[in-house]
Subunit: 587 residues, 2 copies
């Protein structure tokens, strides 16, 4: 079974040294979220993840969630662990104190999301969607509904789901068929089938609050006729107690490649009572409040799984002897594989990506908080643009790179990496869902190039690139070598962006065909931007902790030498256009 | 379950139009292997793979091989299928008629290897190692042993294994501990444990012939004290009949991520009777006869799995509707996903890699035959150098790209790609062993840069590059556009090769750290070389079959536009050297 030590040190480094965002630091509500408090939280978080949750990963893989007589049973140990998990208040970490939450910012809760993803993605999913549902209800529902449902969700006694997908509509929600018929008491009767519903049913909570997209009987077809409904597994009585079963049944659960501990359900709604959330026919945009935050969390899942893959690869490389190095001093026998240049290269590849991602994510968490709570509308707006721009990048790139990293972890383990005993191949299988769910990575790329770069708020990508550029230029001293190099790639990205902008007017298929490449270029450069921030601190504070900062500087150097050049390949590959692709006859 | 139609048309195109190797065409023994004969063979091969073997893939995944009371049982249906398989003579395809084989060249048998890999890799492995054992025995054993063992192996009544790996030695065979003690009758008693033995035990054949590396009691430590032994599961009597059980038992079988139908065994040798093959203490080089051919076959496994992944992605893209294209004509509802630019790009990426690989492999098959049978020693030698150079490239690049292709196939299938029902995720899991076994891809890369580029035969890589360059220059007409582009990358590869050569003298760790990148650069360029051959025929014969040749030309264009640029990224990434990597402190 893989081992795991939460990277509290690196997280605290980010929290202490990279809160460089003036706007974030102006948020009064977080004045009391001090490094000392955060350290206490992260250390407690480390304990529960390392000790209680980590073993659930293997348990869930070996004993998947099952559907028995209409009831979904979670793997052995999940119930007890979930009980402890909610007793310790982990579901409430980022929620509003008004509903019993701890009111922690994303700059803290994102670290917890990462740890939990490292420990067990399957287990995480049971509470993750609850937070999504919480956010969506909190933003869009009436006070009556909020007061009735949110405290129980925050407490973790009830959980939540997102019911979007149907057999013929995944990416394309305009096709959805689930019907909502209005009743005389203003409630709705919901009927239809939803598939791929994560945590759609389970035995961990006393109620499950489904957020369901459905089409009201008198609404138009397509995406403009979709409303959002709250549909509880058990009807909630006036006094807040759990009442009779609603018209929802579990048709089946999916047998999957990974995340086997997580119940992925087919849910049948049969005249189930539902309550409309937000405005009629505007359900899709309400749901997307939840989806966007959720997409960033999926990126963090990739980061978390990458971290545990790295840790175990490093440990194995330090204990496995095989072959002699180029400068071997051992006259007999083999050297530790960590002495081999190629293994070291692979480990540094992992490490440089992971630490860069974590820093980028921390920057994004600050922007998210600014976008939600800053008093100045202009500042709030700019931050919101950055979050919106980075959402598809973090979701896609982090999950794709987690495939690379978990795959490299298997290679380092050799044949042992392919067997079940070591648990390394499970990381790879578990992570393999992340490039698919919450919108496939290609859907993210299309979202980026068609909706996020330039939109009604203006030219977002150039605002972002200008910010990165001016921040790079403002740096002095040894960081200059790195920021100059980044500048080379920023120029390429500017050209790439101009190309996308031009093609968007005359040949959209060129843009579609280039979307994945563009996302990757932007992503690698964004991670380099995060490294610039780390480097600036590392050079300035070098004397205070030489060991730590040398490690950072050398890891950054690897990233700039070996990883960042990928940004250019993606540009070269993309600009050949799409006419050959579109005209191709697939016989 | 995935469907499969063997690409006989593409294979016949290669066999008819790309037998451009003068030296191969001079091999008299293959005069009678005419296109008509080959077509008949491939059509029969298509039938057995499509109808009989394909269903075994799912059967094996759902009912893995098991060890019960010391006996390994293959999945349901394997026994019956294997019986039919050997009755139809498929094990004997490439073997010497002297021992009952059909004497087909690699230019034919490689196609069969590809089909069988597409249909079921697990099932394939039961006979694949037999061919490996056949080759090894045929090259190194005495006539007495050949006469005794080969006819049964060729017939498929007995199978073979390669027993190299031990718990502490995978890559590094110098560490091996299995002991061989010479007896008065010149046989040996073999004792030790071997792990990860593919088809180490099973119920398909009446005997299993293990080829075992072991150290004779009086031999030195390290790789220079290893000998090769033939150790049958059942002792073979003088008259060739199967006698008493030998001292070999199956300790356990591995529970793996994929190829679950294949039994991967821990074998315990306990005073088992063995017969030395070849020269004492030269076992490793004898085994490598088998390993080298086997490594190319592993590359072909990747190709075969890529092909079935592509076929099913294409079919799904043609029947799944989702979202509207940029130029959608449907006023209501969605378009087929094959109309989306990004899906088309992904499909062409697969197709351009697969067809290029198949053509490269066909060229390599011709070289292999020349290297074995050409009467002119110089020609034979040159061909052998090319085969030796390309072996690690084909093994590593084809298997890595098969990971990319099977992963992309999952993405195209969206959520359905992650569930077990569709069988797409199984392709990904099954293929995941190919970058690991027969020497991990990193070991291949080290082999390439340290032993294959420049060796005692001289400067092999530049001989290869000169050949590619002069062939490109000799082309006329429309192919020029492509050969010019390839030339750009050939220049990069020349620089890269010079860099490797220089660093090899002064800083071997630079070479080690660059090895994977170098292998990929060389690989992408070699596939482009194969595409040049295809293009030359396509332009010359265009009028004879416009549909077929347009398809080839446009697929090639995609490869040159979108895939080949990767060769340059790998160069840029590699030349930053290794000092930062080697000095890094992994704390």
């Amino acid at each position: 079974m893989p081992t795991y030590t939460a990277p509290v040190k690196d997280m605290m480094f980010l929290f202490e040294k990279l809160r460089d965002n003036k706007n974030y630091n102006e948020l009064e509500k977080y004045n009391e979220v001090t490094p000392d408090l955060v350290k206490d939280i992260l250390e407690e978080a480390a304990k529960i993840n390392q000790n209680l949750i980590l073993p659930l990963a293997k348990a869930g893989d070996e004993n998947p969630a099952v559907l028995e007589n209409g009831i979904v049973r979670t793997p052995p140990g999940y119930k007890e662990a979930y009980q402890k998990y909610i007793e310790d208040g982990w579901t409430s970490l980022s929620c509003d104190p008004k509903y019993g939450g701890q009111g922690m910012p994303k700059t803290v809760s994102a670290f917890f999301d990462e740890m939990l993803s490292s420990a067990s993605l399957s287990f995480k999913l049971y509470s993750e969607l609850s937070i999504g549902a919480y956010n969506c209800i909190n933003h869009h529902a009436s006070n009556e509904i909020k007061d009735k449902y949110l405290p129980k969700i925050v407490e973790g006694k009830w959980s939540g789901t997102m019911c979007l997908t149907e057999p013929v509509c995944g990416t394309d929600l305009g096709l959805l068929k689930t019907k909502a018929i209005k009743q005389s008491d203003d409630t709705y009767k919901i009927s239809g089938q939803k598939i791929f519903i994560t945590s759609g049913d389970h035995d961990l909570t006393e109620n499950i609050i489904h957020l369901v997209l459905a089409r009201s009987a008198d609404s138009p077809s397509g995406t403009k006729g979709i409303s959002l409904f709250l549909v509880p597994k058990y009807i909630v009585n006036e006094d807040g107690s759990v009442g009779p079963r609603n018209g929802i049944s579990t048709g089946s659960i999916e047998s999957k490649m990974g995340i086997k501990g997580s119940a992925t359900c087919v849910l049948n709604f049969d005249d189930a009572t539902g309550y409309m959330i937000g405005t009629k026919d505007k359900g899709l945009s309400a749901m997307f409040t939840m989806m966007n935050l959720e997409r960033i969390v999926v990126g963090i899942q990739g980061l978390g799984i990458s971290e545990i893959a790295y840790q175990n690869s490093l440990a194995y490389a330090k204990e496995r002897k095989q072959g002699k190095t180029n400068n071997s001093k051992s006259s007999n026998g083999a050297d530790f594989i960590i002495e081999h240049a190629d293994i070291r290269r692979t480990l540094l590849n992992m490490k440089s990506i992971i630490e860069g991602e974590r820093a980028l994510c921390f920057w994004l968490s600050q922007q998210t908080e600014v976008s939600l709570y800053h008093p100045d509308e202009k500042i709030k707006h700019d931050a919101s643009d950055y979050v919106s721009l980075m959402t598809p990048v973090v979701k896609s790139l982090f999950t794709d790179l987690a495939m690379e990293i978990t795959s490299d972890a298997m290679q380092i383990h050799g044949g042992y990496g392919y067997t079940k005993d070591q648990g390394i191949e499970q990381l790879y299988r578990d992570n393999r869902i992340t490039p698919i769910y919450e919108g496939t990575n290609s859907v993210q790329a299309a979202d980026l190039v068609f909706r996020k770069l330039f939109n009604k708020n203006g030219d977002i990508i150039n605002k972002f690139l200008d910010m990165v550029k001016s921040e790079c230029e403002s740096k002095n001293g040894k960081v200059k070598t790195f920021s100059k190099e980044l500048n080379y790639y920023l120029d390429i990205l500017s050209k790439f962006t101009g190309w996308i902008g031009d093609k968007n007017k005359i040949e959209k298929d060129d843009v579609s065909a280039a979307a994945n490449d563009y996302l990757k270029s932007l992503g690698y450069i964004s991670i380099a931007y995060a490294w610039i921030k780390i480097l600036d601190v590392s050079f300035n504070d070098f004397n205070t902790n030489e060991e730590f900062y040398s490690d950072k500087i050398n890891t950054a150097k690897f990233y700039f030498d070996k990883v960042l050049p990928r940004a250019e390949y993606h540009y070269k590959s993309a600009i050949s256009g799409s006419s050959n692709i579109m005209n191709f006859k697939f016989n």
